[in-house]
Structure formats: C-alpha cells, structure tokens
Subunit: 359 residues, 2 copies
C-alpha cells in the first residue's frame, strides 16, 4: 500500500526533525498557535482516502493494457494526494455525510494526473519525484493519449455524481489549467516576465485546481455563497503558497531531502519566482548569466552554484518564501468563516505545511 508507506515516511520525517523551510526564512512554525503539518489532515481523511485510492485503481483497470500500466504508474507515484485530501476534508468541514466526496476526490486526482502526464511531455521531463516519467518509459505519444483518457475519466466521474454546479466548476477549472499551461509555455525563457504575470500563471495552472478541490464540499452540501467563496479562496491561496514554496525548495533543499532533487527547475530552464526576481535585480553580467542558462538553456555543471549564489545575493528565496507564507496566512484567515473544529484546525495546519514543508 503506497499510501501507508507514504504516511510512515511522513511521520518518521516529522519525528526526525531537521532543517525545514521555516528555518530558511527565519521563523519557526512551532512559535505559531497553529503548527505546520499535514498529519492531522491525513489522519482525518485516512479511511476516505483509502476508498478514493481503491476507486481510482478500479477505474483504470480495463481492457487496454497500456492505459492501465501508465495510469497505475502515474497514480502510484502520485505523491501526497493533497488535492483529494482537500476535497475530502472540506466536504467534512461543510458537514457532508454521504459518499459523493469520494467520487469527486477521485475526479480531481484524475484531472491532476492527466495534467502531470501532459506536463512531462511539454517539459520533456524524464524524472518526477525520483521515478522515471511515463513519457520516458512509454513515449510521449502514450502519455498524451493516456492523459486524454484520464481527463475523460474525470468527467465521467463528475457526470456520475450528477451535480451541474460541480461540473461547471471543474470544467471551468480544466480550461483555466490549460490556459495557465499555455501562458507558461509562452513565458518560457522570457526572463522579463513580471512577478504579476508569474502569479497569474501559477494561479491558473496550479492554484485553480486547489481552489476547485476545496469548493466542491461547499457545493455538494449547498452551503451559502460566502462559505463557498471562502473555501475557493482558501484553496487558491494554499495553492499559490504551495507553488511558491515548491519554487523555493528547488534552490534551497538539500539533495538528500525526500523526493525533491535540488536544481531540477534550474536544469529544465524553468522560469520561477526566485529567478524572475534575481533577474530583475541583477546587473548586466548577472542578467547575461540568466539569459544564457534559463533564456537559452545553455548550462555547465558550475551554473547551479552560481544561480544559488545570485539568488542568495538578492534574497529572492526569502522574498519568495515570504510571499508564500503570506498566501498561507490568507488561506488560514478564510477558515474563520467556519466554526472551530478538528477539521478546521487540520486545514489550517495543512495551509502552513504548504510553506514549511521540506519536500
């Protein structure tokens, strides 16, 4: 059971302590009233998430073997299951008592995995979270087509649920994600991309799905618009915090950290906020460095160290993390629309975890 193994890893890592992103930006998560942790959220949704995993696997077991192989590969190596966990927890928060959230959590995870498959093709990636990517193992062609299949399965699940408001939310979100991906493709290598433009991109390509995941619970329980809007904003802010922390981790984490390898984004020439800010602040020589390494993708083995030094010189990692933290706090603030409960606390801790995590 990959999920169980993952939880154990999470727990052991938590117990082991160690350098976290919190230390990088000079704060300690334990100093806050609400600590940064994914464990309460994971504990709350454990049984539901097991049902989601079973449903997901059952839905890719069918007669075309290549679909089953690729779907299982991407789903089994699927990381923290943060998006379905948020669907489940926000449904609990809104008092949902049926099992519609199981199906819709699976739909959200299918949308996400479809995006991952296509992302890896677009980025020409060969590794994801320490595993070979599907396109590296089976070909770009197979990844494109199986991504389409998973996207279709996501819509089949939503149609099976039968809620038009949920279908509207998720079809709009799916369009927004691809708009964000196209914007990112257009901005690739464009170092003059502004912070505002970058936030618009990650809002679309990452935060929109987090936002939708959290809103579903409000829709299926027919909560008032203000509460649905608060859930949407909680998810959106958490998503932006999550992406900005991810951007920072790529230049900050030590190589031994779980899953994440330092410098992946740099080597793939990805334009992320620490780079955008360092380029904007840099002198002519530094800008020429970024143009060569990120703009034109011409890199030598010394370049990552130079990039890190540049980023440190202008404190752009701290700036990125400060923004991430600010978004995480905005997420936590939205939860005040709901009465205090273990679920609300778990969601607050998850928002802080998005920033303080080391993986």
């Amino acid at each position: 059971m990959p999920r169980v193994r993952e939880s154990i890893l999470l727990l052991s890592e938590k117990l082991a302590g160690g350098r976290s992103l919190a230390m990088l930006h000079g704060t300690s998560s334990t100093a806050d009233f609400t600590p940064a942790s994914l464990l309460p959220l994971q504990g709350l949704v454990r049984a539901d998430l097991e049902e989601v995993n079973q449903l997901i696997l059952s839905l890719v077991q069918q007669e075309v073997p290549l679909i089953e192989q690729i779907a299982q590969h991407i789903i089994r190596s699927g990381g923290k299951r943060l998006r379905p966990a948020l669907v489940l927890a926000c449904a609990h928060l809104c008092g949902h008592t049926g099992d519609r959230h199981i199906r819709l959590a699976a739909a959200v995870e299918f949308l996400h995995t479809a995006t991952l498959l296509h992302d890896d093709v677009v980025d020409e990636s060969t590794m994801r979270r320490g595993d070979e990517t599907a396109n590296a193992i089976w070909s770009n062609q197979a990844s494109v087509l199986v991504g389409d299949f998973l996207l279709s399965r996501a819509f089949q699940l939503m149609v099976g649920d039968g809620s038009l408001p949920v279908l509207k939310l998720l079809s709009d979100t799916s369009a927004t994600i691809s708009q964000g991906e196209v914007m990112q493709l257009m901005a690739a290598g464009e170092l003059s991309t502004t912070q505002e433009e970058y936030l618009q991109i990650i809002n679309a390509k990452t935060a929109a799905l987090f936002s939708a995941a959290c809103t579903i619970g409000g829709l299926i329980t027919e909560r008032p618009d203000t509460e649905c809007a608060a859930l949407a904003e909680y998810g959106r802010s958490l998503g932006i915090a999550f992406q900005l922390a991810d951007d920072a981790l790529d230049y900050a984490a030590s190589q031994a950290e779980l899953g994440k390898t330092i410098g992946d984004d740099f080597r793939e020439g990805k334009l992320t906020l620490p780079v955008i800010l360092a380029y904007a602040a840099g002198d002519d020589e530094e800008r020429a460095f970024w143009q060569r390494t990120i703009g034109h993708g011409e890199q030598t083995s010394d370049d990552l160290a130079t990039a890190q030094a540049n980023i440190q010189k202008y404190n752009t990692l701290s700036t990125t993390l400060a923004m991430a933290r600010s978004h995480a706090e905005q997420a936590v603030n939205q939860l005040s629309f709901f009465p205090e409960s273990p679920t609300r606390d778990a969601l607050a801790q998850a928002a802080r975890f998005a920033v303080e995590r080391r993986f």
Copy 2:
C-alpha cells in the same frame, strides 16, 4: 467565409463529375434510389452551421494569443464539418425547435479538433489536408496544451447546455476515443492485427464520435430509446464507412483530388485495412515488404507503387470499399425508424457520400 468556399468547391466538383470511389468498386451511386451526396445535408443545416462556426470562433477568442492562433488554425482548416452537421440534422430529424443543437454541435466539433491536435502530435504529422499541422508550426508542446484547452471548452459547452444524458454520452465517448487512440498506438506496425481488431479500433477512435453526434438530437428531444439507438447506430455505421473509405482513398485517389494526397497513410506507416488484408493474403516476400515499409517504416520512393500493386493483386481495396458500403447501407437502414422527410433523405445521402466521396 471558408464554409461558403467549401460548399462551392463541393458543388463544382459534383457538377464536374469525374472518377469516384463508386467506379472503383464497380457500382454507380446513381443506380440507387438514394444518391450519394453531402449537398442536401449541407443545404439543410447551412444557417445553423453558420451559427455553430460563429460560436466556435467566439469561444476561442480570449486573452491567451497562442490558444487563439492554434484553435483558429485547426478550426479554419477543419474540413467538411461533418460531425456538427450531423448533430444539427439529427436534431431536426427529431423535431428539435430550440437552439440547444447549436451549442452541442460546437461541443462535438471542439472534441473533434482536440483529437486532431493530439493525433498530429502522436503521428508526428506535418501536413493535414494540404495545410501545415499546428504541431509543425507551433510545436508539439503547444498542440498538446491547446488540445487540452479545446477538450475543456467542449465540456464547458455541454455543462452550459445542462443535460446530464448528453454529458454522459459525450464524456463516455471522449474516454472511448482515447481508448481507441491508445489501441491504435499499440497496434502501430503490428501487421498481424486482425480485421476484427482493426474494426474495434476505428469503432472507438472514429465511429464513436459520429454515433454520439447523431444521438444528441434524440436525447435533447427525449425520443424513445429505440429511436436514440437507431440514431446511435446510424452514426456508428456511417463513421466506420467513412473511415474505411478514407483508408481506401489513400491508395486509390489520384494526386489531383481535393485535399487528400495519395500515400499519406503509407508514408506515415499507418496500419489500415487494405494493408492488413494484403499482408494476411501475401506470400513471404510480400509480407517482408510490408514488414519493412509499414512494420519498420523503412521506405524508398518506389515502395508506394509496389504497395498499390500488392493491394490491387489481392483486391483489398475492393474488399475495404465493399465493407464500407455495407456499413453505409446499415446506416441508411436505421433511418427507417423515422418517417420520410427531406432531412431523412439528406441523412441517407450523406451516409452513401461517406463511401462514394473522392476526398
């Protein structure tokens, strides 16, 4: 107006006569009570189709320029608009009087264009209907992402319509199409693929969308299940006829024919029915030829002529066309569930056109 120009081309080609596929398999379409023509169908839906075209273009006009450019490219070079025309005509046949069919015809065309964009990436095609493909002009990456966007727009349109039966039909169809595409990818170069396996593939990747397009009219007018099933079967049979005729045209049409270039499928190493049947019937030397040219994609400039000679030797073009014609007749037979009307006649003629066409 590309649609008007297309109709004029169709009309002038019709008036000019000339060698048609009917002559290749020794029958004359004029000998039948119902002639083979797309003109009555196109005439009936002209005004509606213009609305569909306007809706389609309005839905890709938005702030991400690359999406708009690629979507307009693929939509403007979009051929005969057969699928949306079938949505419109079958809705008329069922007595639909509102405008829901406009939106749903656009949704079907979006699903189709999304498939075309991804197909060209998977096939590594550089030309489609005499135009450069989007992936050749803008990159595979852009085609993958804009295909995702168009697929999402299709679902947004269906959700806007709000019919869960239509959503179920089209999300199931979308999953089936990608299953068919994956099956085709797995069968690529596998000359031992059987006729039955091949029919299963084209049933999924091509005929399913034709079937869904025709069924929509029955669903939105809440016709009895027997009529919806007849529409589904009409579309499915027409779709198979259409694909088999397409397979035959690639080895039969003369180079000057509208849009279609001879030997495209051969040069791309596509496994189609004329090849499958010729391989099955061939001797060792002929099988070695197919293994080299289609199995391994190693071709010289003389090979197309050899392929055509082989196909002629075993009459596999005639066999393919006979099967196509049989499916077209099955399509026509399904129409007997509906009272005689100009729309029913137009649909019968369109089914025969799928086989008798020269482009």
